[in-house]
Symmetry: C2
Amino acid sequence: MPRKKPDIDRIFHALGDPTRRAIMEKLSAGPVSVSQLAEPLDITLAAVVQHLQVLEDSGLVQTEKVGRVRTCRIEPTGLSAAEQWIADRRSMWERRLDRLGNLLAEPDQND
Amino acid sequence: MPRKKPDIDRIFHALGDPTRRAIMEKLSAGPVSVSQLAEPLDITLAAVVQHLQVLEDSGLVQTEKVGRVRTCRIEPTGLSAAEQWIADRRSMWERRLDRLGNLLAEPDQND
């Protein structure tokens, strides 16, 4: 199911927590169940579920329950939105540097 | 002055706040003074200074005081580190999708 438009506030808030980033690192290797996430991270199942809720609400993760097992996977739209926000800031900043460089390279009209 | 190695925890924590991202947006257009930052964001100078401290500690922003004016500018190393972290997660995830695609495209040996 396609997600709603990425909410950049929620995405960066979600990525601002080291445990949630560890979950994203784990998920980038492939989908896993909630209990498979909890074990290596050495946190309770309840804590994983809470973090997953934040990740899912932000659109970074999708979860699906089949029978008794909830499987979690990366939703790439969320990651792309965060990457784009950063890339936009960096490219604005770089364009400004280029303009400054061009100005400095121009012969001074007042000489 | 070159900054120490980017601290990805601090960077994402810093970017997780909407006011701090608004400061980054403003700074991506070019360096500004602390008071020039406070005015359009409609927050107190004290709050801007606090947010700037977080951004500076994370390596996303550099500030420099000349006389009585403190000027703030983007430190691109921090933004690049965050961008790289996201790009790495996304590319791991995409490589995995490619492998899955290849597996599905292979003729089944058991047929």
